[in-house]
Symmetry: C2
């Protein structure tokens, strides 16, 4: 244990399961003129994304799992030993956020920090057995809900959509 683990963290406070804002979906209100709002890619993307998030939310209901937490678990599953900084890069958040997230995962017994022999500053992050089991179950559920959500469009549209979204996200 180096110094940085000595400080007793208030894990309890950070372990609170988020009630979270219900994502719901952004319904179109009758009688309202939206002008050209739907012609904006940004607006259209956001509406679709909120709807998708709703499906995700139902898939992970009760597990206290949020979007970044799910992503983190997937990344940890596929990249054992990753550092917090890299995790933050993947999630697109600051280092400090990745640390809070890691604290939560550790507090839940889903992941653990292990010292790296090659770098005394960094931790290697690993899923625990519990974390492994949880993410496998969650991935099945999320995939299922994603498929159900995607049922609104056909297979070709879905393929095209993913292709175009990737071009936009780059």
């Amino acid at each position: 244990m180096t110094k940085r683990r000595l400080a007793a963290r208030d894990l309890a406070r950070r372990t609170t399961l988020p009630r979270g804002p219900r994502p719901s979906s952004i319904a179109r209100v009758a009688g309202i003129d939206y002008l050209d709002l739907d012609q904006h890619l940004g607006y259209a993307l956001r509406r679709a994304q909120v709807a998708a998030f709703d499906a995700f939310h139902r898939a992970t209901a009760g597990a206290g799992i949020t979007r970044p937490r799910f992503t983190a678990l997937v990344i940890l599953q596929a990249n054992p030993g990753i550092t917090q900084t890299t995790l933050g890069d993947v999630l697109g958040t600051a280092r400090s956020g990745a640390m809070l997230l890691t604290d939560w995962l550790e507090g839940q017994g889903l992941a653990e920090r292990r010292h790296r022999s090659d770098d005394g500053r960094a931790w290697g992050l690993y899923l625990t057995g519990k974390g492994q089991r949880l993410i496998e179950r969650l991935r099945r559920r999320v995939r299922a809900y994603d498929r159900r959500f995607a049922a609104r469009i056909d297979a070709r549209e879905r393929r095209e959509l993913l292709r175009v979204l990737e071009k936009l996200a780059r």
Copy 2:
């Protein structure tokens, strides 16, 4: 002035321009295994949406305008006299949020509340001249940035994308 306007609001506090979290974009990190994350519509939509928000953010830089504020201005422009509750419905947020938003718009001199003759409870919301000028300028800028962002795909892809996104958002 009915009672509900009498309470002196701390407009100053709410008038603060948001520094806001820089949206940036969620870059793909080299050497990391993402598993099937990109196959999830939700994940792909989110990445694209963050990228789009980045374009929006650049378009509205310096004006203190956030996404919901922009939407509110557009909606007010096209639907003068709308109530706060309806505005909240359009934005997909709670009434209290719509009120805070309205407070901000009013504090900035962009919109104003006027009594409705038909309903003593509700306010009708209207853009001021300043708000009118701002939203017209902003819409031009946002459209331009949206076009620039959309340049990553061709016209047919864009049309298809909007069509498919609409199906998903419903």
